[in-house]
């Protein structure tokens, strides 16, 4: 019993992280149809900015570094939209995808050139690793924080999407961008907002990713973006609710594979996951639980 509860808690905290990441990809996709593979680099930037602040000023308080990391992620996300993605905004989806790959390579190599290929350590507070007894299982402080932060962020996002004008505009733009402009809403603002939200979610996820690793390196964004991408496809790309579900599903799936798969084939985990992605893409493009909509299609 304890073991089961423990594993469920693990799945929740991993899944929460994936949900944040997937949501960040999905929100940009839903608004402008861009599969933003440079999203992993937003995470890396958050990490490197925290590292730089620490290295220059010596500040190692998590309460100072964390908001800085999140701000950096929001900033770079908005900046990338302005510089790299705006010129290809009305181009076919493939053009945007390739631009994103290009941006990803540029940012990665920027860190390789200016910092180092080797990883650099970022201070993580000891108390994150403390264990708390919660009756049936033990939980790490970081897991607790992560799950809470995910829940709060999701709640906040729901509020924004339902209550604010810009939130409504983002949801509306997911279906009919031109019409949003024809009620007088500035297209650039809606897109910038989508990138800001996306950056915020990446920044939040980045904090927990870095807290676990304790180091930053130029290639650290690769695995998270791939996971986010998988989770988003599982949830039906572009569906925000689907991205969250996909994230938790992927978390659960990974924990499940870890328990069930014998060590000899556990290395094939990624292959299984991507076979699943293909199956879903071909036979259930609306995602695991989505409504009937073709992948990436917008309503007329």
């Amino acid at each position: 019993m304890e073991y089961v509860v423990q594993q469920i808690l693990n799945a929740l905290s991993i899944g929460g992280n994936y949900a944040l990441l997937a949501l960040g990809l999905a929100i940009v996709f839903s608004v402008i149809g861009l599969v933003n593979f440079a999203y992993g680099e937003v995470i890396a930037v958050a990490g490197y900015v925290m590292f730089a602040v620490f290295a220059v000023s010596g500040i190692d308080y998590a309460v100072v570094l964390m908001p800085i990391g999140i701000l950096a992620a929001v900033g770079i996300s908005i900046a990338l939209e302005r510089v790299a993605f705006r010129p290809v905004r009305y181009a076919p989806a493939a053009t945007g995808l390739l631009t994103a790959f290009g941006v990803s390579i540029v940012v990665k190599n920027f860190f390789v050139t200016l910092v180092a290929t080797r990883s650099k350590s970022v201070p993580t507070p000891e108390w994150l690793a403390y264990q708390i007894d919660i009756g049936l299982a033990r939980i790490q402080v970081i897991q607790l924080l992560e799950t809470t932060a995910t829940a709060v962020a999701l709640l906040l996002l729901v509020l924004i999407l339902r209550r604010t004008n810009i939130g409504l505009a983002m949801r509306a733009a997911a279906r009919d961008f031109d019409m949003v402009r024809m009620v007088g809403i500035n297209a650039n603002k809606v897109i910038a907002a989508a990138f800001a939200v996306s950056g915020f979610l990446a920044g939040l996820a980045a904090i927990f990713i870095i807290a676990r690793r304790g180091v930053v390196d130029p290639f650290m964004g690769f695995t998270p973006v791939l996971k986010a991408f998988v989770a988003a496809v599982l949830g039906g790309f572009g569906s925000l609710g689907g991205a969250v579900v996909g994230g938790f599903f992927l978390g659960a799936l990974e924990v499940f594979f870890q328990i069930v798969l014998p060590p000899s084939i556990s290395g094939y985990r990624d292959a299984f996951v991507f076979v699943l992605v293909s199956v879903i893409l071909v036979w259930r493009p609306e995602g695991l639980m989505g409504t009937k909509r073709q992948f990436g299609d917008k309503d007329e």
């Binding site: 409504l168 509306a172 997911a174 279906r175 009919d176 297209a187 007329e300």
Partner: protein, 238 residues
């Protein structure tokens, strides 16, 4: 108020609109008629800035707005209820109306407009918290019209408001247009449904294959059986 000077629109090699001159004066209802494929919606999209004008210019209240993006045009006071209604199906009626008011900075005016149009379109009040996608065609049309009125535009362009609706609903929509006219709103009404449109319009333009074929009083066009049957494909009985 709204003035189009030799406006042309191309899609690659296809000339959708050729050198159209069109004028809408304050307080007028102007009908823009033409059969399917005449270029009416292209012209409206060009006025809104959704498609680029390839030559000519568009002036609104004396100001050149040819190159202004759609959001800026709405902020200047041009409202549109587009062809096919295009309500935000995944948003509620209330949310659709809220977005419709985005271009109006004055909160008091927005509230006033909301009360006014919920009164005028009582069905929207009834369906206020329903998703717009669940509304019937006629209800969606009413929502699309009131959405564009939320920002209190000085001119509205209604693109095919009767398209695809049952006759009894079409009648209701034209009654509403007459009501809006009575309230002093300036309207550019784009229609295939010529007789109904001409009955509410002051003046009319007839567009065919991207060119203007007629311009004048609505009554005059209504009486000209030749023009109507030739360009609108109406039967001899008309």
């Amino acid at each position: 108020m709204l003035e189009l000077n030799s406006v042309s629109v191309d899609y690659g090699a296809v000339k959708a609109v050729q050198s159209v001159n069109l004028r809408v004066n304050e307080g007028e209802v102007v009908a823009l008629l033409g059969p399917n494929g005449a270029g009416k919606t292209s012209l409206i999209s060009a006025v809104m800035g959704i498609v680029q004008v390839s030559s000519g210019n568009i002036r609104f209240e004396g100001r050149d707005v040819t190159l202004a993006p759609p959001e800026e045009k709405v902020r200047c006071g041009i409202g549109i209820s587009p062809e096919g209604r295009r309500v935000f199906a995944n948003l509620t009626v209330a949310e659709n109306l809220q977005l419709g008011g985005s271009a109006q900075p004055d909160k008091a005016i927005r509230a006033e407009q909301l009360t006014k149009y919920l009164e005028m379109f009582p069905i929207l009040k009834e369906r206020y918290h329903q998703k717009a996608g669940t509304l019937s065609g006629g209800e969606q049309q009413q929502l699309a019209i009131s959405r564009c009125l939320m920002s209190r535009p000085r001119i509205v362009m209604l693109d095919e408001p009767s398209l695809g609706l049952a006759p009894v609903i079409v009648e209701r929509i034209f009654e509403l247009i007459a009501e809006l006219k009575a309230s002093g709103l300036t309207i550019l009404l784009v229609e295939q449904n010529a007789n109904e449109a001409l009955s509410v319009a002051d003046r009319a333009y007839l567009l065919h294959s991207g060119r203007l074929r007629f311009e004048g009083a609505a009554q005059e066009l209504l009486n000209s059986h030749d023009l109507m049957s030739h360009y609108m494909g109406l039967g001899e009985a008309q």
